[in-house]
């Protein structure tokens, strides 16, 4: 009896002591890093930069550009589960497929801005540290410039200086409701950031999974092309080619697409998982084909002499007659088990094509033709150089070459928009799938991509693109 009382007394006492501890509710999380201590050293800055690279979903441009243009055809196995609305130009601002880049790019820009703000306070004493800090700051600025430029490609209604651009974000603002700047203003910021990045990144930095000096030059060339700044486009393209300008030929070219060869890649995004790989946008893992190369694209190559034909297109003879046999071979994987590839953001051949087009616009037809011929010679065996009499003939040839060279790489739709050309599909390409339209006129609402509905809801004053 006494013992029981003692035990009970002890129980009561302990429980009262335990309960009065404030420590019970003063808890800190174990799984997250607090903001104040996140970026304090150069190592942390490096990690924050990697954090920015990790969300650069550049491949979003691949499928939107291909599906909305004339590079791809609906596959027989596609049960209208994927991208039906984008393919039929029947989307509105609520469609996530065509507006996802807005959120992704601004997320990357925010990561860059926070890292840059914290970088101010990071101590760097030795020359090596100062160099590293500068390089990291340069990479961050280049990422920000690239992200803004991508946003312009996606969402500017026309690529003209007086048109609506996108929002310029230079610092973190959680509750802000910013407005869109003009195309010219955004390009100005892009160029300023690239210029600073160029100064900060040393030529000795050669990791192509991150942004290097040649990559900066290449990205500047692309941005200048979209801004119709032909002189600078020529300058930067030449600078990029000077740093890394050999065009791959023959079997080496096919190696680019299995990641065996990186001689043409200025900048690529590393990937290491089959999940979500680019290949699955064209062909499902269970071998259903969602999108095939269009007959228009297939016919544009000479199947015998053009090394690109076999690298990009695969006619599968082993499937049943009722299933799709034309398959996209670009980005089909590094090997049979590693069915993913690194995402190539920008390559040497694009530089030559930019040179060709910019020189044509500057009426330097000779120089332009040389650049175009260089690309064709590297791809087509037995090619004989061609000359062009008029500017328009050269530009048409360049556009065709871009169609053939940069297929499935996120350029076609934006290229047509750059030149204000309608999307016209081949008749053979619209027979499969329900109600596929043939032509997207430049005056059609869906020729311009909308700002996402979620943005408009959160920020009602922002200017939506016309037609939405």
């Amino acid at each position: 009896m006494k013992n029981i009382n003692k035990i009970v007394g002890l129980m009561l006492l302990t429980s009262i002591v335990l309960t009065s501890c404030e420590k019970n509710i003063d808890l800190k999380p174990t799984d997250t890093i607090s903001n104040e201590t996140a970026i304090q050293s150069l190592d942390d800055l490096d990690r924050a930069t990697i954090g920015a690279y990790s969300n650069l979903q550049y491949q979003q441009a691949f499928y939107a550009n291909t599906i909305m243009a004339d590079e791809a055809r609906w596959g027989i196995d596609n049960l209208s589960r994927n991208f039906g609305l984008a393919y039929r130009w029947d989307f509105d601002s609520g469609s996530g497929d065509v507006t996802a880049a807005w959120g992704t790019m601004y997320n990357v820009i925010d990561r860059v801005n926070r890292a840059l703000a914290s970088a101010e306070n990071i101590p760097a004493n030795s020359t090596a540290d100062v160099a590293t800090k500068n390089r990291l700051r340069g990479e961050l600025l280049a990422i920000r410039a690239m992200a803004h430029a991508e946003l312009l490609r996606w969402f500017a209604p026309r690529y003209e200086n007086d048109q609506l651009g996108v929002v310029i974000m230079l610092q973190t603002s959680i509750l802000g409701k910013p407005q869109r700047s003009t195309f010219a203003q955004v390009m100005g910021q892009v160029n300023a950031d690239f210029a600073q990045a160029d100064a900060l990144i040393p030529a000795s930095f050669t990791d192509i999974f991150r942004i290097t000096k040649p990559a900066v030059a290449a990205l500047r060339a692309r941005a200048a092309l979209y801004a119709k700044d032909w002189t600078n486009a020529v300058t930067y393209a030449n600078a990029a080619i000077a740093a890394k300008g050999t065009l791959a030929t023959g079997a080496d070219y096919a190696g680019i697409w299995t990641d065996a060869n990186t001689s043409e890649n200025y900048f690529q995004l590393r990937r290491n998982s089959n999940t979500g790989s680019v290949r699955t946008y064209w062909t499902d893992d269970n071998t259903d084909v969602f999108f095939s190369p269009s007959y228009k694209l297939i016919d544009s190559y000479n199947a015998v002499t053009d090394v690109r034909y076999n690298a990009f297109i695969f006619k599968d003879g082993t499937v049943a007659a009722s299933r799709e046999s034309w398959k996209v071979n670009k980005y089909s994987g590094q090997s049979t088990t590693n069915r993913f590839n690194n995402v190539k953001v920008i390559r040497t051949s694009e530089m030559y094509l930019i040179l060709a087009e910019a020189n044509a616009e500057l009426n330097q037809l000779g120089t332009g033709a040389t650049a175009l011929n260089a690309v064709r010679k590297a791809r087509i065996t037995g090619y004989v150089d061609q000359t062009f009499a008029t500017k328009d003939a050269l530009i048409d040839a360049v556009m065709l070459e871009r169609y053939k060279e940069l297929a499935f790489e996120g350029h076609r739709f934006f290229d047509l928009r750059r030149r204000q050309l309608p999307v016209v599909r081949d008749d053979r390409d619209i027979t499969i799938g329900a109600a596929v339209p043939k032509t997207l006129a430049t005056t059609n609402r869906n020729y311009i991509l909308p700002i996402p509905l979620a943005e408009k809801f959160a920020n009602p004053e922002i200017q939506q693109n016309p037609g939405y």
Partner: protein, 1022 residues
Amino acid sequence: MKKLLQSLFMFLLIASTAMAQNRTITGTVTDKADGKPIPGVTVRVQGSQGGAVTTESGSFSLNASADAKNLIVSYIGYVSQTLPITSSNTYRISLVSDNNTLSEIVVTGYTQTSKVRNVSAASVISNSQIANIPQPNFTTRLQGQAPGVNVLSGTGQPGSNASIRIRGSNSIGGGSTPLYVIDGIAVDEATFSTMNPNDYESISILKDASATALYGSRGGNGVVVIKTRRGVAGKVKVGYNVQGGVDLRTQSKFDMMNSSQLLALQEQGKAGAGWTYSALNTASTIPAARRAAIRDSLSNINTNWDDIFFRDGKFQQHEVTASGGSEQTRFFSSFNYYDQQGIALRSNLNRYTMRLNVDHTSGRLNLGIQSNLGWSKSNFIESEAGVALANPFAAVYLALPWENPYGPDGRILTSNNTTNGFRPFNPYTSANGVLADSRLGSNALDRLENSTLKTDQIKSTVVANATYEIYDGLKLTTNLGLDYRQTVQERSIFPGSHAGVAVQNGNQGSYGNNVTRILNLTSTSGLTYGKSWGLHEINANALVEAIRNRESLFNYNGFGINPKLLNTPAGITAGTNTNSMIPTVGGSKTEYGFTSFIGLVNYTYNKKYTVQGTYRYDGSSKLPEQNRWHGFYSIGANWNIKQEDFLSQSNFLNTLILRASYGETATAQNQSNFGYLPTYGNVSYAGVSGIAPATPGNPDYDWEYTKGLNVGVDFAGWNNRLRVTTEVYRTNTKNNFISQQLSLTSGFGSLSINAGSIRNTGVEANVSVDVLATKDFVWTLNANIAYNKNVITDLGQATEYPAGTSIIRVGLPKGAHYTVGYAGVDPATGDPLYYNVDPITKESNGTTTNVYNAATQSTAQWGTYEAPTSGGFGTSIRYKGFNLSTLFVFFQGFSMFNNESFFLSSTTQFSAYNQQTRMANAWTPTNTNTNIARLGSSRQFSSFDIEDASFIRWRNLTLSYDIPQAWINKTKLLSSARIYAMGQNIGTWTKWSGFDPENNNNIAQFKYPAPRNFSLGVQVNF
């Protein structure tokens, strides 16, 4: 000498008188109605501490001092008696049964009160109302039993959990889950599938602030307080209960096409097999005769997908209980085995539970232990309630009727015809025949058979409590609880199957586990005081409570499964950087704590007027320091009008009580553990680790506060044959978490801020009438109904915003649907028409257009998915040993988005999926007067898919028979026996065309419907 003797005699006399001070009082206690002895009755001398408890035969024996005045005899369910102690030492006491509501005990937050002195709105449900209902989950058994308590059952799959909503949604962004408390410690709703509801003796659902304020920051959504069964003194009674039955499919109302109808539709729409093999297809390269032959073959195949995917599920339950003990120590134990198969292939639940409750009394000390251990194993179907082709409830309707899953050798032929090291699945070549479908149903069937999704859950709860009476009425109490739960979810995809080949890393299946471990420690200690003297009665509590909860999650997923070693991690292939089979690993750890100080005072004057006040000061780790501590108060009053002089003589009126209460609580269970902190998290750039911002953080993070006013009336009359309880309430919740949509330029999509307000106003009523009440025959009718009006009153600085297919907007209820209005079909072109919307009034302006624009055409005129009116009604009849009871539940005034019809009545997807028969009425140039648009026109989300889902469901019919005592006595072994038969979800009346109108959200997406169940059981006691 004489004087010595005299004084000695005097001394002895005094001594003997002194000894005669103590006496032993014995007696028996019986039930006045039938004379049967009642065990477990407390008999004590008024003013003394100790007491006795009657035994099995109703007899008691206790010591009393000679000057003892009164005996107090009390027992739950009977009117307490106080009788004077006379010179006799033996007493025969008969207690009158108290069938009316007065005797109900309401367990309200850390105390118990009788209904007479109760100031709060609480519904009490007894064990008999929920025992043995063949639904393994406790929350589903509560449907229709208490007004204002709605069970939201998102799925009918055994092993899954249903949620409860009490008195409407109090939270805009957070959940409406109430707090569940079993024997004093909080329990997670998700673990009810591993616990045995037959162990619950009484369930009190606390609805208004004066009851829930005692739970402070966690009581905002209501509290369900459960007390488990305890032992009763007497001979050990062993009982055995066995029940078996079958789960049947309910009728679906989809009305799908058969092969020839679908072929005709596809021919009309010029897409799909019906067109490829159509005689009208002049562009076809297949010769006409062959086309006709194939079409004829196809139209004669009518695969019954229903029979392939579904089955009748078997169900059985075995339970053994034992209870007994002496006056000092009593125990209750139970062991239960529950096995239920679901109506879809592969789904089932197996459960073992054990419970041991021990109570010990010795003098001033009361000790108790309530412990239980449960283990459950459930198998689930694929992609439940998801719009995915793997979901058998989707595949069964979407699959084409001419798709035959089996090949000539009996194997399932899927769409996968690559070898990948294994035999091809689909060896169809043109020599073998024609494949006119996409193998949708076959793929789903193959996936169901060649993968597993299992959950293994262990749950153990141990609660120890002690009460020590220090002084007259003042007690020291402590309650310590430990609750441990481990859930292992195992997901296995077999290599070599259709699903296995689709696994992206390695294409050879996968095996993974998801382990969750949660440990919860609760300690509540303090003082309680209860005393009555003269006209006054007072009860007071002062307690300190500390809660700590630790949660850890771990998951892994491995690839490259060895086909000989399925369902085990031993079959995983090690990942290298060339075989792309690197396993994925993840997990997290988190914890939270609460510290609280609780005070309650309850005072009754003259048994007529009761006033109660409570105050609870809560501190929580879930909030930033500046908002960490907050006090929650409530006041309540109760006027027992029947006791007043002007009514106490009334014969018709037995009870009339008026109650009112007001108080404040919060819903801490809606907060995330560290949601207020701005943080960076770990990200990976293809194997290289980096950091990136994870949450924006919110320094003003605060609780959602709910203030509620409740007024209630309890009425009983006509000899307690008519019992009515009504409540009227208004609850205002402010500081609601709303997801403030951020401009995407900030890098984040949304931020949770405390800015919204939502109001619930409503009426509840519970009526019970004994239409006929004689000794042998009792017929009771009962009904309960609740009406709740929910309105969002403020969204702070945020604008309205969409939430799924609903919209959150001031002035509308929380569940308001938001979509484009469907205006029928243009008779000239067959295009679907949509209503244009006036941007200022935000309502349709009557004009229509055939251009769809969700941003400008959506309106909120389509009702809500949270039913405002709900309730139940039923009857019970008792005749001698027979007992028949039945319950209907109804929900009125709500609609849901039928996402199923988006695919099954589609003008664009009829080539890929089977369609409902109403599609045959699609617009054609000759059939212009119809609501179904032209085949090939675009199909968008609109009000065409929103349907009224109000329903009445015949929930339960139970018939039981108690074997007459005479026959029982002949067996000499049994003490009682009962046979019973039960039917559950027998019928539903509704306009809803989908599977099951009972749902927990706004959209019906092929969720597993609730099954119909019939069972038979026998209960014997030894």
